[in-house]
């Protein structure tokens, strides 16, 4: 079967020798200089962006002089703004992609290339030691994604052309980070067209599977999916050991308590000094966050307990006096 495919492909390539692609939109009005501030390969990358930054492109057959408008597959669109503001914004496209991609139509060998994984570049690299990619890799390998889904990779969650650091990164609010992170999960778990590419499972309705959760919208906007759906570990920035749904956190008190697991996950990197000195409450005041049961205002608690004890003391003294005076 593979042999037949190759033969047909060779015939197709032979016929399409004079074929080229051209973007439908002009690039002259682009401010490429802004991108050059962060990337030395802007001009080289333009040969890719010319098509891949647009929703459509024109396929030209020079031999027969025909032109056909084609739409760019949604998953293959990479916007310049996103690309040049992501974590790997200094890269040339061909740093990660095979040189064969310079050919058009892209040869099958290139399209079936095995993409690099995070560990391939970052593993055992002192410059990235604080991210603990080795631990992330170990956690990931234990996850339901790695164990249960063939061909799953880092890039199924982390968009290689747009990935940004959020929680724990400078200048990112917790709420923005939560939304960004949850979008990663929802991009498959609430989009069946992507979900079915990786699994035979039936479509999941996130709202229905979480209907037990009180204040569902508030929870979805206030914590990341991974807070409950991973095995929290202290060794990594972000937990990657994604658990099966039956092992997800369901006990309210795991988050809503003084020893909230959120301390080891969502708020791990925030206001550490403040938390060390005063506990969770003061840390989360700085975070503008709030968790019932976990936010114990130590000042309020102390005042409350003192007043309560004073009241009980006063009542007790009065009772004793009434007993003595028989009133």
């Amino acid at each position: 079967m593979k042999k037949i495919t190759r033969i047909l492909l060779s015939i197709f390539l032979a016929f399409s020798a004079g074929t080229m692609a051209q973007s439908d939109s002009a690039t002259s009005d682009l401010n490429l200089d802004a991108y050059r501030q962060v990337n030395d390969f802007v001009d080289e990358n333009e040969s890719c962006f010319e098509c891949h930054a647009n929703t459509k492109y024109v396929l030209i057959d020079e031999f027969f002089g025909r032109e056909i408008m084609q739409s760019m597959c949604k998953d293959k669109i990479v916007t310049r703004d996103e690309y040049y503001s992501m974590v790997h914004n200094s890269f040339a496209c061909l740093d990660c992609h095979a040189y064969e991609y310079e050919e058009f139509p892209h040869p099958l060998e290139a399209r079936l290339e095995q993409p690099y994984q995070c560990i391939d570049c970052h593993g055992y690299d002192e410059n990235y030691a604080h991210f603990r990619f080795e631990d992330i890799e170990m956690e990931y390998m234990e996850s339901v994604h790695a164990k249960g889904i063939e061909n799953f990779s880092c890039w199924k969650c982390h968009d290689p052309h747009a990935y940004k650091l959020t929680i724990g990164a400078d200048g990112t609010s917790i709420s923005d980070g939560i939304a960004y992170n949850n979008d990663i999960c929802l991009s498959c778990h609430s989009d069946f067209s992507r979900f079915e590419l990786l699994t035979e499972r039936e479509e999941i309705n996130i709202l229905e599977t979480h209907d037990w959760l009180p204040n569902q919208a508030t929870h979805f906007g206030s914590v990341r999916c991974i807070e409950c759906h991973t095995s929290i570990s202290d060794s990594t920035f972000v937990a990657h050991h994604v658990l099966s749904s039956d092992k997800a956190v369901k006990k309210c008190a795991e988050c809503h308590s003084k020893n909230s697991i959120l301390m080891a996950s969502l708020y791990k990197h925030e206001a550490k000094e403040s938390r060390r000195r005063y506990g969770f409450i003061n840390g989360v005041i700085l975070n503008e966050a709030y968790v019932i049961g976990a936010n114990r205002n130590t000042f309020l608690s102390t005042i409350g307990i003192i007043l309560f004890l004073a009241t009980l003391g006063g009542v007790s003294i009065h009772i004793i006096a009434r007993i003595i005076y028989k009133k």
Binding site: P214, T218, V284, I292, K327
Partner: protein, 215 residues
């Protein structure tokens, strides 16, 4: 001379019973949520949340009834607290509780047909019913519908401020409850006030002279 009188009409007794039950449940579930600990469970968290929410809504309606009833009935007169001479009256009543009652002195402000509450009672009832309860209801509604609360005030989470207010008022109402129940034992007999709020019949003084002089 004390006499047994129909002091608390049925509507007030039902309202009081609903309030009492709601506030007890709210305090218990509130403490369960505030001091939640997986190892020491008073009421399981999800149940505490459900009970607290439902009871809070019932209390809110009960408070609405209180406001409307006070607006349209004569019941509001019992809450009137003229500022003139207030301090003297409070000192007088406090002195009675602290010393006078042990010396066998007469009550400075005995209950009559016209006066259900002594000045100290009145102060705490007004604070509880017109400050504590409204604030705890408003902040409670804010926590029930967190999306309605402002995101931040002076850089501090709006919902956190709402919660601190809610918990502080919860503490205040809890203290009020302890004092309220204890002071209720200082009646004609130790159980007279409890019987009165259930049966409606309480012991009151026949004279009204002192009521007039107070207000």
């Amino acid at each position: 001379m004390a006499k047994l009188s129909y002091h608390y009409p049925l509507s007030i007794r039902i309202w009081h019973a609903i309030n009492a039950l709601c506030i007890l449940l709210l305090i218990l579930t509130g403490i369960s949520m505030y001091y939640v600990d997986p190892d020491r469970i008073l009421i399981e968290f999800s149940w505490a949340v459900k009970i607290h929410n439902v009871t809070g809504v019932i209390l809110s309606f009960s408070y609405l009834f209180f406001l409307i009833a006070n607006a349209v009935s004569k019941n509001r007169k019992y809450y009137k607290m003229p500022l003139k001479g207030l301090m003297n009256r409070l000192v007088k009543q406090s002195g009675y509780y602290a010393f006078g009652m042990f010396k066998g002195e007469k009550k400075p402000f005995p209950l009559t047909e016209e006066r259900k509450f002594n000045p100290l009672q009145k102060l705490f009832y007004v604070l509880a019913m017109y400050v504590g309860v409204p604030l705890v209801i408003i902040s409670g509604l804010g926590l029930l519908f967190p999306e309605s609360v402002i995101k931040a005030l002076f850089g501090v989470s709006g919902i956190l401020i709402t919660d601190v207010l809610h918990v502080a008022m919860g503490f205040f109402i809890s203290l009020f409850l302890v004092i309220h129940i204890y002071v209720s034992t200082i009646g004609h007999t130790k159980s007279a006030n409890f019987i009165a709020i259930i049966s409606g019949y309480g012991w009151i003084e026949e004279t009204e002279n002192e009521t007039k002089s107070e207000e």
